[in-house]
């Protein structure tokens, strides 16, 4: 055993607190240590080269690095010793920065003693380390994208153009998401549907993209490289092969219900297409509102009116099972319920509406054909008040974050309202204006300077009805004046929340979420498109509120991660996983019970007694160690963190070995083992 110890100064981070020279002297006296040295910055190029030279010159077979947290440079040092010819798992890192010098800044003597103990423990542990090889798991080079909004479509196109198969699953009958509902997009005032529908059609026609609309993901099993997914496609009762999208069926349907695509402001029939450019252009029967039920079919108006005979009342749900190697989550956002803002009359007055509803009023394919009308009486409003930060940045209402897009879309709404109603007045109440994107500030300045649009700095206190006007009580803090406005319509910029169903989906995929329900990325700065669960990637507003350019960028970023995953010849996973010693295993099954990832199954041996033993699925195992803690016979251990290694660390720190092991028998036949350790 020839161990080399390398102690890092890390500039003043470690050397400023710990006495490095004394450490080096003491460490060189430890058992099995044949070389000990110090270096200013071990992670630097010269630092790593020094390690490699020493390994070759002194023929080291184990290495200890005493420096920062292994999360920082663990991979760096492992690669360095691998290049020098050692197995990359024959290294142990003693964290004498985050766990020592940084937290004991004023206690230098004690910190030095603690650093010594940490290095001693690392030396003891690495002496028992075994060389390990990566675990190779199967990799299916196909991807599942959940969510067919602009982010999902972009990711699908990028991956499909890269040559791999994509399954795109969307809950509603059409792809396009919220971007399809918009009239014009800021800051260029491009028609939203005009720029999105070509992409939608490309996604539907792409030979590598399998599109499943009106479908949801029901079950996900497995791990990165081999996910087994069950998709359930709800029955449309219309045959997509035969439907031409002519609309004869909808004209004769007797049922009129609010159209979700128009945010409830317009009506649709029970057999419908969400909007004229929907993809796929196939009608859908909404079973909840259709007069017929699953078993009772009486009204056949649509069936009779359909020329190609595309209607089939006897369709059932379809279950599709697929196997994919990676999953991209792009399920997008919804708006916070307006009923939460009772002080603004949300939910009570029909003329207090949210941003998406106003968008549908402005849109020429909307319920009013682009004429802005009040939902209460259909008249054109001559004075509209826009309230920004209605619920966002409001810890009291549970949304402390900023929803990012509202300042921009409110400015756009005010401008488009003036285009639609030239003699109208628009008042915008803001606290701050966040216009950080490209050409966003110029756009807002243009809107602020438009005749008929007034920007008032203050948060509105109350909106109430007086006769048939909505009275708004606000303030302009810049001039110090409290104001009252008699408005015809009030538009609230509500917070953005993760779309319905995201929570259940995250639980199914075991992907963590934050306190607001947005999916958590593994590192907020450096890795914003990957979830902590390997193989799951995030794109769009499901990760945090964002506008269209950022959603598209993030979707392409997620696609690039998937493409780089698929471009490896094999998928190699870290070998820090559980390993079963078949001679010690008695088949009690405790480990399988406690495994949080379901990675352990009990199998029958092929001997006469047919005893059971534990088998670990290396792909599912995450190396957490619960099984190791549960096993009474020490038969299952995590490679790289075995019980002898952990014990060696403890004895090194305590400077002792147990002199006696006391065994007390408790009731029920359980044993209580206590190791009595006396210091040397």
């Amino acid at each position: 055993m020839r161990i080399g110890v390398f102690i890092c100064h890390c500039g003043r981070n470690i050397a400023g607190v710990v006495d490095i020279k004394a450490l080096v002297d003491r460490v060189s006296t430890l058992e099995n240590v044949v070389y000990a040295t110090n270096e200013m910055y071990l992670c630097s190029d010269p630092g790593q080269r020094k390690i490699q030279e020493v390994i070759k010159e002194f023929k080291l077979d184990r290495v200890v690095v005493a420096a920062c947290s292994p999360k920082m440079h663990g991979a760096t040092f492992a690669r360095a010793i691998e290049e020098a010819g050692l197995n990359p798992y024959l290294i142990e890192i003693a964290n004498i920065r985050e766990q020592c010098s940084w937290v004991h800044q004023d206690l230098r003597k004690i910190a030095t003693e603690k650093a010594f103990k940490l290095i001693k423990a690392a030396v003891a542990k690495v002496a028992l380390a075994k060389p390990l090889e990566p675990v190779y798991v199967p990799l299916t080079r196909k991807v599942l994208i959940i969510g067919g909004g602009v982010a999902g479509i972009q990711a699908a196109l990028d991956i499909a153009n890269g040559g791999f198969e994509v399954y795109l699953v969307e809950k509603s009958p059409t792809i396009g998401g919220h971007m399809a509902q918009l009239d014009e997009t800021f800051p260029t005032l491009d028609c939203s549907a005009c720029i999105l529908t070509p992409r939608m059609v490309e996604a539907a026609r792409h030979p590598n993209i399998h599109l499943y609309t009106y479908a949801e993901v029901k079950q996900v099993e497995g791990v990165v490289g081999s996910y087994k997914v069950t998709i359930e496609q709800k029955p449309r009762y219309v045959d997509p092969e035969k439907c031409t999208g002519c609309g004869d069926c909808a004209e004769v349907c007797p049922v009129i219900v609010p159209n979700e695509f128009d945010q409830g402001l317009g009506g649709r029939k029970a057999i419908y297409i969400p909007f004229p450019q929907a993809v796929p252009a196939v009608y859908t029967i909404d079973l909840e509102h259709c007069l017929n039920t699953e078993k009772l079919i009486v009204c056949e108006q649509c069936y009779k009116a359909c020329g190609p005979k595309a209607i089939n009342y006897l369709m059932g749900p379809k279950e599709i099972e697929i196997e994919v190697g990676a999953i991209v989550l792009a399920t997008g956002y919804d708006l916070w319920p307006i009923e939460n803002l009772r002080e603004y009359g949300g939910g009570e007055y029909p003329d207090v509406i949210n941003g998406l509803e106003f968008e549908r009023l402005l849109c020429s394919s909307g319920p009013t054909g682009g004429v802005v009308r009040r939902p209460s009486d259909g008249k054109i409003p001559k004075r509209v008040v826009f309230i920004q930060c209605a619920g966002s940045r409001d810890p009291k209402h549970g949304c402390a974050y900023c929803s990012k897009i509202c300042c921009m879309y409110t400015a756009k709404h005010a401008l488009l309202y003036k285009h639609a109603v030239p003699d109208g007045e628009a008042y915008v109440f803001f606290i701050d204006v966040r216009a950080a994107g490209k050409r966003y500030e110029e756009f807002v300045q243009r809107v602020m300077g438009t005749d008929g649009i007034k920007y008032l700095r203050g948060k509105v206190s109350k909106v109430f009805q007086r006769n048939d006007k909505l009275v708004v009580w606000g303030v302009d803090t810049l001039s110090g004046v409290a104001v009252e406005i008699e408005a015809d319509m009030v538009v609230l910029a509500l917070p953005i929340v993760p779309s319905q169903g995201t929570k259940e989906l995250a639980q199914m995929l075991k992907a963590p979420t934050d306190e607001y329900g947005f999916l958590s990325e593994i590192h907020p700065k450096l890795r914003p498109v990957e979830s902590s669960m390997m193989g799951i990637y995030l794109a769009g507003a499901v990760q945090a509120p964002k506008d269209i350019p950022d959603s598209v960028s993030q979707a392409s970023a997620a696609a690039s991660k998937v493409l780089s995953l698929f471009s490896n010849k094999q998928l190699a996973l870290d070998p820090i996983k559980a390993e079963v010693d078949l001679e010690k295993c008695v088949g009690c099954g405790e480990c399988a019970k406690v495994c949080p990832f379901g990675a352990i199954t009990m199998k029958k041996r092929l001997d006469k007694k047919k005893r059971k033993y534990a088998e670990v699925n290396k792909a599912l195992c995450q190396g957490c160690g619960c099984c190791m803690a549960a096993c009474r016979k020490e038969a299952i251990q995590v490679e790289g963190f075995t019980l002898p290694q952990l014990r060696a660390q403890i004895y090194a720190i305590l400077d002792a070995k147990p002199t006696k092991v006391e065994i007390k028998k408790k009731e029920g036949g359980n044993e209580d083992k206590t190791a009595i350790v006396k210091p040397r």
């Binding site: 409001d394 810890p395 606290i431 203050g458 948060k459 206190s461 409290a482 104001v483």
Partner: protein, 130 residues
């Protein structure tokens, strides 16, 4: 005339000690001023009062009419998105002024001439007198 800002002379500390409120939580949205029923009579709006305290210009607040016009209706506190209890802060300023200046802002002789419910009289005595 420019307002000279320098390290405050403990005024803010005393007001904070009386009221116990974190004035730096306020991000000047103005919702309090927007809903204040006495807003139009006040010289400084409620959000301006807390702003002057935030920037260290407490002296300006001491001479305003605002704190005496405050009706303690708690609309500001109820609506504040950051949970700042502005009504309590106003009371803090009032108490500070009453304790240091030692003069009443309320004349019992004048009030007795009006037909007021007893609760208004007692409330006014508590709020405006030393």
């Amino acid at each position: 005339m420019r307002l000279v800002l320098k390290k405050n002379d403990g005024l803010l500390k005393k007001i904070k000690a009386i009221s116990g409120e974190d004035i730096y939580a306020c991000y000047q949205c103005g919702m309090c001023s927007a809903g204040c029923p006495m807003g139009q009579e006040m010289d400084l709006l409620p959000n301006q009062v807390i702003r002057l305290l935030q920037i260290g210009a407490e002296r300006q607040v001491l001479h305003c009419r605002t704190v005496w016009l405050c009706a303690s209706c708690f609309t500001c506190t109820a609506r504040c998105p950051k949970g700042v209890n502005l009504a309590r802060l106003m009371e803090g300023v009032r108490l500070f002024l009453l304790r240091t200046q030692k003069e009443d802002h309320f004349s019992p002789q004048q009030m007795v001439k009006e037909p007021l419910p007893p609760i208004a009289l007692i409330g006014a005595l508590r709020k405006f007198t030393t």
